[in-house]
Symmetry: C2
Subunit: 135 residues, 2 copies
DNA sequence: AGTTGACTTGAAGTAAACTCCAAGTATTAA
DNA sequence: TTAATACTTGGAGTTTACTTCAAGTCAACT
């Protein structure tokens, strides 16, 4: 895997150059090296890290968690346990998300089936029968 | 199912009263009826709608999509097809999310297993070998 | 009568994650 | 030599989805 310019990385992982620079600024992609003219380049190792970021971001892992992880990586072996703990916590957050997602998917499928079979016409709307409550 | 006050609904679905009023303001929960003193109450039908909102919001369905759906519900039968289409689109978005989520979960599980087996110590960090590129 | 508690309003403020902009530099192409 | 293209920087602006606030009303206790 060759080193890549910011635009090449941007295309490879489908995120904007602005986002890549932003990630660097906030400490999510530390120590991005430069060519003589000042332009960034991204090594194989960084590309792997960026792929990881993009993957986890698509699942809603927060930037804060990823920065924490990046900073612990930099501090070295003393952070091994904390890093594993962070990964476990994020995993459990994603598994909760998956649970919610499955509930929503089932709900939508059920609702769509009501439309398909014409059963939805019977119920007018969620917004019905409004008279002022006397108490 | 009895009618409920804003606080009761807030507790039942674990969202704040402020959020309920906000949803109403932006057209996501139209026509909330009032008691003589001006206080809101929520009928069974509205509670079902709110449950749906909360469920789908937990899966990342946008408020915009839910407002669209609510507005179409109000317009009646002429929007039946468009409503079904909206639900199908949201379903496919959620299925994409599920796919991403599974990828992330597998990635995290794999990474955690590297920590568990001590294999992670071998690789130093994502951030290595930085010398200035001569071109 | 006064205080408490639950509600009301409209408006302003916040947090996360980008996203865009203006001005400048450097390499390439004509 | 001029023009185009691809980067650079710092800072400001945007979007989504709430969240907080100040000031007021209303009903129920003490």
């Amino acid at each position: 895997m060759p080193d890549l310019t910011i635009t090449a990385v941007s295309k490879k992982y489908d995120i904007s150059s602005d986002t890549l620079r932003y990630y660097e600024r906030i400490g999510l992609i530390p120590h991005v090296p430069r060519k003589k003219n000042g332009n960034r380049y991204y090594t194989e190792g960084m590309q792997d890290w960026i792929e990881m970021i993009v993957c986890l971001r698509h699942s809603g892992v927060t930037i804060e968690a990823l920065i924490d992880y990046a900073q612990m990586l930099e501090k070295g072996d003393s952070t091994l346990e904390a890093r594993e703990a962070l990964l476990r916590e994020q995993l459990s957050l994603l598994e909760e998300k998956k649970f919610n997602l499955n509930r929503s998917i089932n709900r939508l499928k059920h609702k769509i089936s009501l439309y398909e079979t014409g059963k939805i016409k019977k119920g007018k709307s969620y917004f019905e029968e409004y008279k002022i409550k006397d108490d």
